[in-house]
Structures are given as C-alpha cells and as structure tokens.
C-alpha cells in the first residue's frame, strides 16, 4: 500500500492579469510502496505544485494521480503532508499539534495523547510536549510537523523542503534523523528538495525535474545501502551519483537563473 502513479499531470495557472503560467507539463512518475523518492529541481520548477496535486489540495488541469490505483480527488486519509514552513498552530502545544489529525479523525482524548507522546518521542522531542511553538527552535518545530504527519499513520508522507529553512549543520543532522525515523516507520515518502546532496543521501531514487515547463527529466536510482549514516557522503559511489545528478540539474538551474535575471531586468 502507498503506491503513487502520476499520469500526464498538467497544471496551468492563470495569474490575475490573465497571463498563463504552465507549471507542470506532463509529469509521469511512479512511486513504489515504501520507497523514499526525492524530487529534485531548481526553485520555481513546480515541485510544490506537484505535491499539492498529489495531496489533493489542488486539482490538475489535465492528467491524474492514482494512489493505490484510485484517482486522487481531494485530500485523503492515507496521505499526510509536512509543509515547507512548518505551519504549526501557535495556540496548540507540541502535543496538541501532533494530536490535530487524530482529533479530526474522531479519536478519543486518551488515545490521541498516547499517540502524540509516542510520535514526539520518535521525533526526538520527549519532554517538549507542553511547549508552544514559539518556545521551540526552527528545527524542533519541523520535527513537530513531522510527528504531526506521522501520527495519523499515513501510508504516504509528502515532505516539501522540510529542512529548507535550517542552516547547513542542523540540516545534515535532521537528514540523518529523518532516515532513522524512516527506517523505523517505513512509509512511502516523497521528499521535495533543491539540494543535490540531500536528495542522494536520503532517496532510493531521485527524480530530477526540468525548469518551466516542469517535467520529469530523468529518474536516477541511488543504490547506497541502508541504514545510511553521514559517512556515506564520503564514499566514491556517492561522489559519482552526485556528479551524474549534477550534470542533469546544471542545465535546469541555469535556465532558472536566467529566468530570474530576465525577471529582474524586465521587472516581473
């Protein structure tokens, strides 16, 4: 359970001025059950758009997404999301934030609390249950976000650049931590990032996206053994994967960069 198939996904936005932006143009991708798939692409290539369609928050212009063979028509039980900017409820403690999805599913108070404590512990936040988000650091907030998504026991976990706001050191720490959690809970994970090292270190496969219109350029398999630790970063296999992916991504990053320059010159 937890297989995702995207078929010819297209998404065109129309800006308020009536300009059409083709964000996704024919995404075909299959994510296997319990696979850790990283989606890698430059900023603005449509990663978040793709994730919103898979989670059911947005509808595609054309094409469809199947989860376990059934088309996605809206948010659904078996999919949980970790957002780019935490999105914790400031008025709920860490535990109550984690309980949110369970409360929405009508679980009893005691059961919810138990689950929340368990997942906070898995996320390394034992003892911080009763803190409010403003009393937590950025990394801790994101761990609450991860625990909140895990607590509903989804088959699929969608993560949109969850570590994007962290500094380089804590970032690697959290990557390792995430792998530890993944080895423990085994879900299908779609992890979005624009960081090559992160994608290769975490993923079973890395889907590289093109920049505008967004398509899947190539899916690269990463057969580094699990469980992985940061030592993997120093191996020759890692280095060769890294340069292979870098060659794929380089051109797209250049296009993204030029688009940004153009926008600066012509004033977007």
């Amino acid at each position: 359970m937890g297989e995702i198939v995207a078929e010819d996904l297209q998404k065109t936005f129309v800006t308020p001025e009536g300009v059409e932006v083709v964000a996704l143009d024919g995404i075909n991708l299959k994510v296997r059950t319990c696979e850790f798939l990283c989606v890698l692409g430059p900023s603005g290539c449509g990663k978040t758009t793709f994730m919103n369609i898979v989670s059911g928050l947005e509808r595609p212009t054309a094409g469809r997404v199947l989860v376990d063979g059934r088309p996605v028509e809206g948010p659904r039980q078996e999919v949980a999301v970790v957002f780019q900017e935490y999105n914790l409820f400031p008025w709920k403690t860490a535990a109550h934030n984690v309980e949110f999805g369970l409360k929405a599913r009508g679980q009893s108070k005691a059961k919810r609390r138990d689950a929340a404590l368990r997942y906070l512990e898995i996320a390394g936040l034992k003892g911080f249950e009763d803190r409010y988000p403003h009393q937590l650091s950025g990394g801790m907030k994101q761990r609450v976000g991860i625990a909140r998504a895990l607590a509903v026991d989804p088959e699929i976990l969608l993560m949109d650049e969850p570590f994007g706001a962290l500094d380089a050191q804590s970032r690697t720490f959290f990557q390792e931590e995430l792998l530890r959690i993944y080895d423990r809970v085994k879900k299908t994970v779609v992890f979005i990032t624009h960081n090559i090292n992160e994608a290769i270190f975490l993923g079973d496969r890395v889907a590289v996206m093109t920049f505008r219109p967004g398509r899947i350029k190539e899916v690269v398999g990463v057969d580094l053994p699990r469980p992985r630790t940061l030592d993997v970063l120093e191996t020759a296999e890692f280095a060769s994967k890294r340069s292979a992916v870098w060659r794929l991504l380089r051109e797209e990053s250049r296009k993204a960069f030029e688009a940004k320059q153009e926008a600066l010159v012509f004033g977007e």
Partner: protein, 277 residues
C-alpha cells in the same frame, strides 16, 4: 543534542498570579502615583480655598465615599450599572462575533454589510440616546441598547480583521487532515482570530462603559451616571467626585482582573502578542 535542547530555558511565564504578595505589590505600584495625584488635589484645595461645592478636598470626598459605601447606596448604583453593562455587552458580543465570522468568510455578506457598517460605525453610542428614549422610554432597556451599539462595532470590525488575517496555510493543514467543519471553527478560526477579538472586546467594553455613564445621566433612574447627575442637582459635589472615582477605579479593576488575565492566558501564552511591559 538532548542536552543542548534541554539547555534552552523555558521562557519565564509573563503571567503574574494574583497571590497576596503580588496584590500588595500591584497596589503599591498603583498607589504611589495615585497618591501623588491626591496630594496635588489637596494642595489645590488649600491654596485656592474654593468653596466645597466647587472643589471639595480629598478627605471630605473620602468621608462621603465611606458613608455612601456603608449606606449601600454606592454599591447599589454600581451594581445597577454593571448589570446593564453586562446585558448590553453580552448581547453585543453574541451578535457581533458570529456576524463577524460570517462577513469575513462569505463574500456576499461582506459586500452587503460593508457600506452599512462604514456608515453606522462612526455614530457614537450616545447619539442614539434620543431615539433610544423614544423607543424604549427612560430606564435600563434604553441604556442597554446604547451599550449594545457601542460594544457592537469595535467587536465586529476586529472579528472580521481577525478572521481575515488567519494564516491561510493553517487552513490548508486542516484540509489535508480532513478536519470536519466544526473543528475548523473551534480549533483554527476562533483561536486564530482571538487576538483581534480580545482587542475588540477591550475597546468595545471601554466604549460601552463610557456610553453607559453618559446614558445614565440622561435616560436612567439609577446607576453611577445617574448618581453623579443627581448629586450635581443638589450641589453635592463630593458625591459627584465619588461617582467619578468609582467609575475609574472600577474599570482599572476590570482591566486588571478580567481583560489582562484573559490576554495572558491566551495570546501572550501562544506568543501571538508581546507582553506589555
């Protein structure tokens, strides 16, 4: 890492509990400056030697205060005022808050009510007194109506702003979690708008209290405003000042034991507003 995390101290609770010691401290903090004011007043009385009906001294007023208190008259008027205030403001909140939610979340309601609110809102509650007397006669209903109107608009406008400024992303979280509508209201919209709603309450209740006193001077037969006005008719200036002081002191008390703790327990605790120094 755990050690590093544990080292981050829990931020000190901004909340000050009402222990006897804290009460004494608070009293001293208020007492000092207020006493200075009273001394200045006494100095004025000694210096100018005005007749008591123009400006009675603090001691005289204090005497009247205690005798009015002992006779129960002061309390009777205060309770009468509070009753009307409660009635009017509860009715105001009960209408303004749901209406605010509705206007903020449903565009047609916003389009319809926006012009109406814009025109009615600047009319002060007291300007409605003539109509209120015509419609309801002298007495509590008329005053209650004035309070209702005074409380209504600040709460309505703040509720609308509060709901509109809720972080959209949090609503998306609720959506992916398949959150039922009632829970979106209780767990996302109400707490998300609470900071503004409380501000609305603060402003609204303050307006209501002022409007109440003004209304009672004209349209009532009891209450603090009535007491002040009645005392003036008999040139009992000391009673006038007692009434005024009661109005101010009572509101300071409401602010301290009701409104401030409400903020401390909610938005300050959630880190949604800076604790006032």
């Amino acid at each position: 890492m755990e050690a590093v995390l544990a080292d981050r101290k829990t931020p000190r609770r901004a909340r000050t509990r009402l222990t006897p010691k804290a009460c004494a401290l608070e009293l001293a903090r208020y007492g000092g400056p207020l006493l200075t004011l009273v001394l200045l007043w006494q100095a004025m009385v000694w210096w100018k030697q005005w007749p008591p009906y123009l400006l009675p001294g603090p001691l005289e007023v204090a005497r009247t205060f205690s005798s009015l208190l002992v006779e129960g008259i002061l309390l009777q008027h205060l309770v009468s005022s509070i009753k009307v205030l409660l009635l009017g403001s509860i009715a105001g909140m009960a209408v303004a808050i749901p209406l605010g939610f509705w206007i903020a979340t449903w565009r047609p309601a916003s389009i319809f009510f926006n012009p109406i609110v814009t025109v009615l809102q600047p009319i002060p509650g007291i300007a409605w007194i003539p109509l209120a007397i015509l419609w309801f006669g002298l007495g509590r209903t008329a005053i209650g109506f004035i309070i209702f109107l005074s409380v209504f608009f600040p709460i309505l406008l703040n509720t609308i702003t509060g709901v509109r400024t809720i972080n959209r992303e949090l609503l998306r979280v609720a959506r992916v979690m398949l959150c039922p509508l009632w829970m979106v209201v209780t767990d996302v919209i109400v707490p998300g708008a609470l900071a503004y709603i409380i501000t609305g309450l603060r402003i609204g209740l303050g307006y209501g209290w002022r409007a109440l006193v003004a209304g009672e001077m004209i349209a009532a037969t009891s209450g603090l405003g009535y007491m002040i006005f009645d005392a003036r008719n008999y040139l009992k200036t000391d009673e006038v000042i007692v009434g005024m002081a009661t109005i101010g002191l009572f509101w300071a008390l409401v602010e301290r034991v009701l409104l401030k703790p409400l903020e401390q327990r909610t938005i300050e605790r959630w880190g949604m507003a800076r604790a006032a120094a």
